[in-house]
Subunit: 222 residues, 2 copies
């Protein structure tokens, strides 16, 4: 089977993306430990990678908290628990996150000889993150085509975003059919013992399961 790198956060989307990739590829999962408040995502990523049979899993530290600027990593910015999902760029936006994560995914792909990097970005329910939009994926691909060893040699690493045009409910339906272990995923931004159910990430997750007509297997506060 062809090798592929899959960016795996431990959340619902990337777990589904991993399952899709693993159907037809030898999967090397890549998770970033970037100083996020919801670092238990990383334990989820490990559990998901093991459960879905990833061939390898690399966890890489990056001190994004040295930069700050997002409620996800900056102690001085609170996570919003208003349940607002407005389509505007929220305080949880981590500057240039997908740009950075995809770059490192491409780096790993070059080293391990993978032809593709899978990312679980999707923008249908929620276009608040500019780096989850199709235009961004296309533009990034062009930078990879001219800026990497593989690209300069003719065969560039391809960015694959299989969920890009799927709604959260469609993603969950698809994942449920494939047996994605959603009970192992972690979505909440707040970093508590249980998911808060109130942050933007929880709200989108809950709406997605509701729309899919499937019960969310994780527990929520209160």
């Amino acid at each position: 089977m062809e090798k592929a790198v899959v960016l795996l956060s431990g959340g619902l989307d990337s777990a589904t993306c991993l399952a899709i990739a693993a159907e037809t590829r030898d999967v090397h999962a890549l998770t970033f430990d970037y100083g996020s408040k919801h670092s238990r995502e990383i334990d989820s990523a490990k559990a998901v990678a093991a459960k879905l049979g990833a061939d390898k899993h690399t966890v890489m530290k990056i001190e994004l908290d040295a930069i700050g600027g997002s409620s996800l990593i900056d102690e001085n910015i609170d996570i919003e628990k208003t349940g607002n999902v407005t389509g505007e760029i929220p305080s949880s936006y981590v500057p240039a996150r997908n740009l950075t994560f995809l770059s490192l995914g491409v780096a790993l792909a070059e080293v391990v000889g993978a032809g593709e990097v899978f990312i679980g970005a999707n923008s249908i329910d929620y276009s608040g993150y500019p780096d989850c939009r199709p235009e961004f994926i296309d533009a990034f691909q062009k930078a990879v085509d001219v800026g990497t060893k593989a690209g300069a040699g003719g065969t560039s690493v391809k960015i694959i975003a299989p969920l890009l045009n799927m709604s959260k409910s469609q993603i969950i339906q698809k994942g449920a059919e494939m047996g994605v272990p959603y009970e192992l995923t972690w979505t909440c931004y707040s970093g508590g013992e249980r998911a808060c159910g109130k942050c933007e990430a929880c709200v989108l997750r809950l709406r997605g399961f509701e729309g899919a007509g499937i019960a969310d297997p994780i527990e929520y506060e209160g």
Copy 2:
């Protein structure tokens, strides 16, 4: 003055780039501690940033060595000391390095409110690194334009590569005129006490000083 982020490795090019930026900008230098064998570059970066009056200096750790694949970071790949500079992609190529470093530079720029990221990439003497070519800088800019908060809002962070079309000798001449402290810079890949004079980086540096008609102020082995 306008704020700018400057990627600073501690080498000759980025030191010159910093001096150019600092003439007209409030400079926030950004250095990556990425597990390189020549990590004394980082001490050089700190000394150069202080000497050239950078307003701030962030040193960020990234575990690129978790990926490997380059003689600069991988214990299993030797640094070449043949003095070969062929124009082919050398073993010192770090996969997707400028892609990653520019991404993090853009992230910092977004957080500190800088409108520009300066990078000391140049490709005249040496086109071996695909991510130092003008085509790459242009393509990356387009990814930033659509993939970041600033870009989505209309005013994107601009990538400035002032050395892109300069030869190594021209860079050194320009830097010498501006008083760049080349005695504080570190170029050698080998990680010894003194520069080896034989790796591709040393060879390019020595040729550059020779072409500029200026004595290299650092000491070499043997």
